[in-house]
Every structure is written in C-alpha cells, then in structure tokens.
C-alpha cells in the first residue's frame, strides 16, 4: 500500500473511532478501580505506585538499572536503554495525563524488547486488568468527515497493511508525545517571558518596595552592629589590655599591619596544611592533629574578628581625639565608647547606601559607589586587624608605644652647623 493510502486508512480509522462513544465494556469493571497513583522520577529511579479501591497496592520501578515489580527484581534495564527510556516516557505522560486517561495509558503501553520489559508490561496489565477504562477516544470531539476514498480492506495485524497501519500509528503517537513535550517547553517559555516582563517594570513604579527593602537592610545592619558591639564589650571587659594593644598597633603601624594581614590571609591555608603534614609525618605528633585540625580554623576566625573589633576601637579612639581634643569629654572616653563609635563608623557606609536606595532609582550610582566603598573598607578593616593581631601577638607585645612621647630633640640643634674646627 502506498504512503497516501496508508495515511488515508489511518485517518479513516481515527475518524471512525472519534464517532464512537465508549462502549459499556470499556468502562471500569468491578468495584476495585484505581484510587490513587504516585509517580517519582529521578536520575536513578523511575517508579510508579498504584493503589486500588480495595486497598491493594502495586509498585513498578526501574531503579539503578534493574526492573522491580512489588519489590521483586525481575531483570535488567540498563540506564538510557530502550526499556528505561520507554518507561520514563510513559511515566512522564502519566504525570500529565488527565485522571480518566491514566489507566488506559498504562494498559496500552507496550514495552520494547522482551525479558524484563515483557514481564513489567505483563505485570502492569495484569494489575490493571478489568479495573480501568482504556484511553477515551475524545467523545466530546466533533467527528471528522470521512474522507472520500474507496473503503479499504480491513487491516489484519501482522499482514503488510496491518503492519503499515501499526507503524504509522506508532509514529503518530511518537509525534503526539513530542508535541506534548514542546507544548510544555512553550509554556515554560511563556512563564519565563512573563517573569522577565514583570522584572522589566521600571523600579520607580514600586517605591514602597524600595523603602521597605532599604529599611529591612538597615535593620539587618543594626542587628550586626549590635552583635559586634556586644562582642567588643566582652573583649574589652575580659581583655582590655590586649584589644588596646592591637588597636595601638593598628593606629601606629597601619601599613605594616595591612601588609602582614594580606600575607597572613594568603598563608593561612598553606600553614594549616603544612601543620597537618608535619604532625602526620612526625608520627608522635599524630594525637596533636585532633587539636590542630579543629582549633586552627577557630583561632584564625577569632583573630580576624578580634582584629576587626580592634580596628573599630582604633577608629573610635581617633574619632574621640578629633571631637574632644582638649576637653573633658576626652578624659571620660574609654574603650567601651571607642568600640561603640568605631564599629558604627565602620558600618556607616552600608547604612548610607541604604538611605540613598530609598530615594529611588535615580541615585543608584551613588548607592553602588557607597556600597563598593563600604565593602572595601570592611575588607581593609579585616585585613589590617588580622595583621595587627599577628604583629602584636594578640596585643601582648605591641610594636610601638601606645602613647608615643614627644622626641627629646632640640630643633635648634638640628639646624645648627657643627663646628669641625
């Protein structure tokens, strides 16, 4: 039979099917119909679980390259093999199919090949036999007019015509499945476009969102500030001498602290690994690994945090000297005050950026600039603080005096020309 004739035959059969209402024998038989179903798909697993009205539960799965029926291993189904792919296609269709079509979809499925696939197919059909209706042939659809062609011979399965019809019907099913997949993709595309459209709305149409977001951000910064100040107070209370030692190092050896902090940042990981290697090789040091591995990272984190607080202390001290120089207030200022003001100073740029954010999208450039400066400042504070902790050995030996005394130099002597006579 030619291709045109085969397609015409296929169309005639489809047209005939569409004109028919489902026969009573095609409806659910018996009381134990399909009650619920669960389909789970992942890289390694494709499982179908069915529950019937009489309480019977059945499960069919391809998991890790094996076929399982009710927990029984019935054979192999290699990943991405023909059976695996056909089973996954069936389950994907089952996920999207209307409830009335589910049973028919499952019973109509033909497993490729034999062996495990044949067993799976047979078990599935036996589980659903007499319980569900086959796929409804779209009874609500308007019947198509029968094509004006001579009535063909009735195709007999297995004969040449029958094989052609079966082949074309299989192809039609494949194309329908592909069409469904593409429809899903198209739907996803529409969703993406809709989302992009929403995102493209000019920000000035959502002023309260900006204000709300900025206020929420400011509250976050205040919370972080409160935590840092709390930690700073604890550090001052228990280790005032050490935090002041580190802070003095920050103030009087800022550049050295920064360079040491930078180098320390790069060397932390190699030092950690080297320590592990040395302790491992030395054999006797093996028990020390139990201390070294967890405590070294903790010590580094504490050093960085302590350094940051010391930078805050130094900043607060510098601010106090500027504001209260020569006054009584300066005499009353103390380390708690320095931590309070200095830490606030370090975070002030973040707050400023959020305040600018409230004003609208027109000042976003300034907001970006302030955020950038704030991040750079924070990074610098962490680096310098870490370096100062290392330089001063945790504040125990600050390299310079906390309050440098005026040099005992007579300026007049410097410029006085020495007599070599």
């Amino acid at each position: 039979m030619s291709l045109v004739a085969a397609l015409a035959l296929s169309g005639a059969l489809a047209g005939t099917a569409m004109t028919q209402e489902p026969t009573p024998s095609a409806q659910a038989v018996g009381p134990a119909g399909l009650l619920s179903s669960a389909v789970e798909l992942s890289r390694t697993e494709a499982e179908l679980r069915l529950e019937f009205e009489d309480g019977t539960e059945r499960s069919f799965a391809i998991r890790d390259g094996r076929v399982w029926v009710d927990g029984r291993d019935v054979g192999a189904a290699p990943r991405n093999g023909q059976l695996d792919q056909a089973w996954r296609t069936l389950l994907r269709s089952a996920m999207a199919a209307p409830a009335r079509d589910l049973g028919g979809l499952l019973t109509d499925w033909q497993a490729p090949g034999d062996g495990a696939g044949e067993t799976l197919d047979a078990e599935l059909e036996s589980a659903l036999a007499g319980r569900v209706a086959p796929v409804a042939a779209a009874p609500a659809a308007r019947p198509l007019p029968a094509p004006d062609i001579p009535a063909p011979d009735i195709p007999v399965p297995g004969t040449g015509i029958g094989q052609s019809v079966e082949r074309y019907q299989a192809r039609i099913e494949e194309l329908e499945a592909e069409l469904r997949d593409r429809a899903d993709s198209l739907e996803q595309l529409h969703e993406t476009l809709a989302r992009l459209d929403r995102d493209r709305r000019p920000p000035w149409t959502r002023p309260f969102r900006r204000v709300g977001q900025a206020i929420a951000d400011i509250f976050s910064i205040i919370a972080i500030y409160a935590v840092l100040v709390g930690l700073g107070f604890v550090a001052v209370f228990f280790g005032r001498r050490y935090i002041e030692g580190v802070a003095d190092t920050v103030r009087h050896a800022t550049l050295r602290s920064g360079l040491v902090g930078l180098a320390g940042g790069f060397l932390v990981l190699p030092a950690f690994l080297l320590g592990i290697i040395v302790l491992t090789i030395s054999v006797v040091g093996l028990p020390l690994l139990l201390v070294w591995v967890p405590l070294f990272p903790v010590a580094v984190i504490l050093a960085v945090l302590f350094g940051y607080l010391a930078v805050g202390h130094a900043a607060g001290e510098a601010l106090a000297e500027r504001r209260f120089h020569g006054g009584d207030w300066f005499k009353r200022a103390n380390s708690y005050y320095y931590v309070l003001t200095g830490t606030g100073l370090l975070l002030a740029l973040f707050v400023a950026a959020n305040v600018v954010h409230m004003a609208g999208p027109w000042l976003d450039f300034i907001k970006g600039l302030l955020t950038f400066l704030a991040v750079v400042l924070t990074w610098a504070a962490f680096t310098i603080g870490f370096g100062a902790v290392l330089l001063s050995r945790g504040g125990t030996t600050p390299p310079v005096s906390a309050r440098p005394t005026a040099p005992d130099v007579n300026i007049g002597d410097v410029f006085e020309e020495e007599s070599h006579v």
Binding site: S37, A94, M95, F208, V211, G212, S220, F350, A353
Partner: protein, 281 residues
C-alpha cells in the same frame, strides 16, 4: 538580606554553588487521588521556598500534586489520611538564599478537586505563589507567607459559603483578585511591609467584613461600583485617598451606602504608607 550580608556571603554562595552543582539530585513526584466519598478535604501546604501553583483539577479527582525538588537539600511532604492532605517541601536550611526565587528552590503544583468542599491551610516562606481558587468549593482558607510574591485569585464563583479567609504576609507583594466571587463573610489581611492589592470585583452574594492590618507599605483597594463601602481607619502616617467617599463620624462611606444591595466594611489599621481606593465600572 542586607548588602553587607550579601557581600560577606558571596564567596560562600559561589563556593556552595560550585561545590553542589554536580551533587544536586532533582526529583519529580506526582501524586493523584480520585474522590471516594469524601465529604470535605482539608489541605495543609507547607512550602518553605520556591514556586507554587494551585488550581482546580478535573472533575472526579480529589487532588493532584507535582513536587519538583532537590533531594540533597529538600524533602517532599505528601501524606493523605482520612480527608487530610499534607503536601509541600520540607528542609532547605542549608540552601543559600540569594534574594531571588529561582527553579533551584523547588516547585509545587497542586490541583484540587472541584466537587469537594475544601478547608485550606497554607504556610509558605519565600515563595512565588500563584493560587487560583476559582472553580473550587472553599469553606475556610488561611494563607500565610513570608517574603513572597503572591497572587491569589477567585476567577469563578465559590459555590460554598466561605466562612473566613485569613491572609498573613510578611515582607511581600500580595494581590488578591476577584474577592466578590469568594462568597466570603469575613476577610482578614495582615501585612508587614510591602504592597497589597485587594480587588473586590466579582459576583457578590453576601456582605463582607474585611479587616486589614498593615505595617509599612501601600494598600490598593479596587471596589466595583454598586457595592456600598464603609471604611474605618486607625492609622498613623498613612495617606488615604478618599475619592467618592464622605466622612460621617469616624467612618468614610460611599455615596450609595444606603441603597447598595451588598456592603463591604473595611477596618484598616496601619503605621506608614498609603491607602488608595479605585472604583471599578
């Protein structure tokens, strides 16, 4: 999340993304159940982060749910017992949320049967939610969200009398459309910060008492003409657009309050923001 936290967690987020990219184990779980004599379905949705879509299923179905989740981070919730359905996604504590809701955070599609009366209890976190309750029989509904973008619609009439609809939103953009179709007696909306749109269009069948509590943000009210409106407000630094309303005593009334067949009573309290009234023809 603050810019500071964003800045400090960028490296962590990148590291986590790179480290987890190959480890993600995406799964899709679809459950469906036919109606078998249930007189009511109670639905509990627990969904921390991601996208959620709710709508009507085909006739004869009790519910159908599809959950897409990363099994390394999340755990699917699905349980049905004696008319109580619990569904959603649990976990995600280790997931680094960068402020955007993307597909990496999971997805839930829930279709509910149109023939069974429903009692809904939704608790959602950072979600992008699209909830269509038109075509369903809703008796009670309580919806709670965190930082979310939520659209709640009643596109068709609710055949049941909705005894109470409660909506709680954190920092959110919330739209409730077609409240006239909800057939509700009472509506309670509370929002922390954000934009709330309440659209009362639809086929009204009974009077509605609505209570709105807002912290900071904008409230937009869309009222169909012909519905009598009364507004009682207890606000601080909230601008109120009272077009086509007259003030009598402490309340604002629409001009047709006495003649209107159905009445909407709004009790608004808020701290900072604006209330705008738009009349729909």
């Amino acid at each position: 999340m603050s810019n500071l936290l964003r800045g400090l967690t960028v490296a962590l987020a990148i590291f986590a993304t790179v480290a987890d990219a190959d480890a993600q184990d995406w799964r899709t779980l679809t459950n469906r159940r036919q109606r078998a004599g249930e007189q009511e379905l109670r639905v509990r949705v627990r969904f921390g982060m991601g996208k959620i879509e709710v709508g009507a299923a085909e006739s004869g179905t009790l519910y159908r749910s599809t959950i897409r989740y990363d099994a390394d981070t999340f755990r699917p919730l699905h349980d049905y017992k004696a008319g109580l359905l619990t569904v959603g996604i649990d976990g995600g504590g280790a997931h680094v949320w960068t402020g955007e809701i993307d597909d990496d955070a999971g997805r839930l599609e829930l279709a509910l049967g149109p023939n069974v009366p429903l009692d809904l209890d939704f608790e959602m976190g950072a979600v992008d939610a699209d909830i269509e309750l038109g075509g369903l029989r809703i008796r009670r509904a309580a919806i709670s969200t965190g930082a979310s973008d939520t659209r709640l619609r009643f596109s068709q009439q609710n055949p049941e009398r909705l005894e109470g609809l409660t909506v709680k939103a954190g920092a959110a953009a919330m739209q409730i459309i077609g409240l006239g179709n909800a057939n509700a007696e009472q509506l309670s909306v509370s929002g922390g910060a954000g934009e709330i749109v309440l659209d009362f269009s639809g086929a009204w069948r009974r009077d509605l008492a609505c209570k709105v509590e807002m912290g900071l943000g904008a409230l937009t009210l869309r009222i169909p003409r012909g519905v009598g409106l009364r507004v009682d407000k207890d606000t601080f630094l909230v601008s109120f657009d009272s077009q086509e309303l007259v003030k009598r005593g402490d309340a604002y009334y629409s001009l047709d309050w006495e003649e209107a067949e159905h009445h909407l009573t709004l009790d608004i309290s808020g701290a900072l923001g604006s209330v705008d009234v738009h009349w729909l023809n």
